[in-house]
């Protein structure tokens, strides 16, 4: 019923292209997160959905209706703004009741409904307060109640949690999920915070430079990033540059800046079509790298690309720890391998700790790596 379809959406400011050819269908009741760095066009896309910006091209349909040229006040969307935009000259209750007042709901009815909404976000006791005296988290709740009070078909959230501290923001993420589950309304949530997107989203749409690069379920975009930008943006990873040495029917061998030739097991035509001399970038996520002290390492017979007993290939390299970063539950080691710095992580208490200067051996399964071409596109392995 309130399925949203964006097709070929474009927004141009003079010569500057803020949003380019964004097309996506958002299912009824879905929570879609638009994730991207600042300036990627995600907020502009949301504002076009709200009717606060007019697209220069493309169209927007909510349900069966084309709403592209409809002003914000005639759309069944409601927005929670980044700075909350609460009306300073009205009480908390009047703020929440505002949308209903605009719909012509009588004073008593709308105040009853507003009180109900304030209770839902646990702000009932502040009904008669001046919103300017509330804390950030409280303003956020009032803004949410105000948008929900009009019972919108689509709730649009424009980085509403980015002005809150980490703890509060995480609590609100859980609360938002609960409210979403309860209301079964369509939510579109804009954020630049990957963790927030992974926590909230049914699907994530990743934006970069005004385009929607990939849309998918959180684990899908994480496991199967479409290009190098997404791989780098979604989590911490080591990008290692290399060139293709040779391709066999079941392996691509890449000579890397780590001083080792790395074997990528593959059978895909996309990968075997690579030619010797092609530049590729490998992504070594810390979670696929295992670490052990050099002394405990087995003999050098197990060289790069050798096939282990279980059939996987090993690609161990040895490096020197440059510095150690304690990050609470994990420790991050910067390791210099053949002049290139890579980082690895270990869970605190997981085996012996290393110090700066120690030599360690880093190993991985070639099948866990992702490879990207020069233009950023992913090699299908």
């Amino acid at each position: 019923m309130s399925e949203i379809t964006l097709s070929g959406l474009e927004k141009r400011y003079g010569d500057e292209l803020a949003v380019e050819d964004v097309s996506v269908t958002i299912d009824d009741g879905e929570l879609l997160c638009l994730l991207g760095p600042s300036g990627s066009g995600k907020s502009t896309t949301l504002r076009m959905l709200a009717g606060l910006e007019t697209p220069t091209d493309g169209d927007i349909r909510i349900g069966d209706e084309d709403v592209t040229d409809r002003p914000a006040y005639e759309r069944t969307t409601a927005t929670v703004f980044q700075d909350w935009a609460l009306f300073p000259n009205k009480t908390v209750l009047e703020n929440v009741a505002f949308g209903l007042k605009m719909q012509g709901v009588g004073k008593e009815d709308r105040h009853d409904r507003a009180r109900e909404m304030l209770e839902r976000v646990r702000m009932a006791e502040y009904a008669d307060d001046d919103p300017m005296n509330l804390s950030g988290g409280q303003k956020q709740r009032v803004a949410l109640a105000r948008s929900l009070a009009v019972n919108p078909d689509v709730l649009l959230l424009d980085e509403p949690l980015s002005n809150l501290d980490k703890r509060l923001s995480e609590d609100m993420q859980i609360e938002l999920r609960e409210i979403h589950a309860e209301l079964e309304e369509t939510f579109v949530h804009v954020t630049h915070d990957q963790d927030e997107a992974f926590t909230l989203a049914d699907r994530i749409g990743i934006m970069a430079d005004g385009t929607l690069v990939q849309v998918g379920e959180p684990n899908e975009v994480y496991q199967n990033p479409k290009n190098r930008f997404i791989e780098g943006f979604l989590g911490d990873t080591n990008f290692v540059e290399g060139t293709v040495e040779r391709t066999t029917p079941d392996t691509v061998r890449v000579e890397t800046e780590l001083g080792r030739t790395v074997g990528l097991p593959t059978a895909a035509a996309d990968a075997t079509a690579l030619e010797a001399g092609d530049a590729v970038t490998l992504s070594l996520r810390p979670e696929v790298l295992s670490v052990e002290p050099v002394s405990a390492a087995s003999d050098d017979a197990e060289s790069s690309g050798a096939v282990r007993a279980d059939g996987s290939t090993t690609n161990a390299v040895v490096g020197t720890i440059e510095n150690v970063l304690y990050r609470g539950s994990t420790v991050r080691y910067s390791v210099v391998v053949n002049g290139t710095t890579v980082f690895v992580e270990r869970t605190v208490g997981d085996g012996s700790a290393f110090d700066a200067g120690d030599e360690i051996r880093i190993d991985w399964d070639g099948a866990d790596l992702l490879a990207f071409r020069d233009d950023g596109s992913r090699v299908d392995l």
Partner: protein, 306 residues
Amino acid sequence: MTGTQSSLPAPVARLWEPLLERSRSKRALLLMAPLLVFELLLFVAPFLILLRISLMEGAPDLRYAAGTWSLDGYVEVFTNGVLLDPIIYSFKLGLAATAITVVIALFYAYAIWRAEGALKSALLFSVVLPLLTTLVIKTYAFRPLLSPNGTLNDVLLTLNLVSEPIQFAPGTVGVLVGQIYIVLPYAVLAIYSVLSTMDWGLVEAARDLGASRPRSFVEVVVPQAMPGILVATVISFAWSVGAYAAPGLLGSRDLAFAIEVEQRLLSNLDWEIATAYSVVMLVLMLASVAVLTVVLGRFGGEVEYA
């Protein structure tokens, strides 16, 4: 120290003590001294002189009988019906000019606020420009524009909108137009200064929640602009009630209070009546401004004094 303070007369102490309380130290008072001297010399002292003259007897050949005490001036003001008409005229002019000015200024300020780039500069400059011209010239300029054989009538006659010329000026319409033209820049700037600090996001939030353009203006912009509207109202009202130039240059039988005062001072040499008249008018003005402040304050226009 407390001894010296308590020896002050009660009304003075009432004013003095909060002042001391606020400043906490005498050094802060010292910083205020230039302002106090300025106010005393240019406002308080002349007003006390005026007050004193209003309490003197009249004298046949002199402006006033120096050194005498009398309430004759006030008795004359309250009993002579001739003196009532200018007060009524001035208040009517004040109300009309203020209402029109504030409405125009509100939309004008909104337009400046929403404009961008060169248009914004042009709109702002067009507000400031009249302030660079002397009041007499810009007021007098309305005569060739509004007189029966003036430009406006030429246009109206050519377009066949009227069959014979209308005398806008000299006349009350001319006075009103002239007075609005005088106070409008101040009203626009007062409202714009408040609007310029306002977040456009609030208007977007209102529209997003279903408020149409006019509705979001009334619900969000006007209450936010209220402190500026209040200042614009007080400036326009005070100035228009005390208007002298516009009624003098553009009026025909427009006997404003200020003109009556001038005649009493310069032609009739009734200084005790003119000053008593002024004092009464001042009290009426203060009362009206107080009422205005309270009424507009109801609509969210809380003026911060501190």
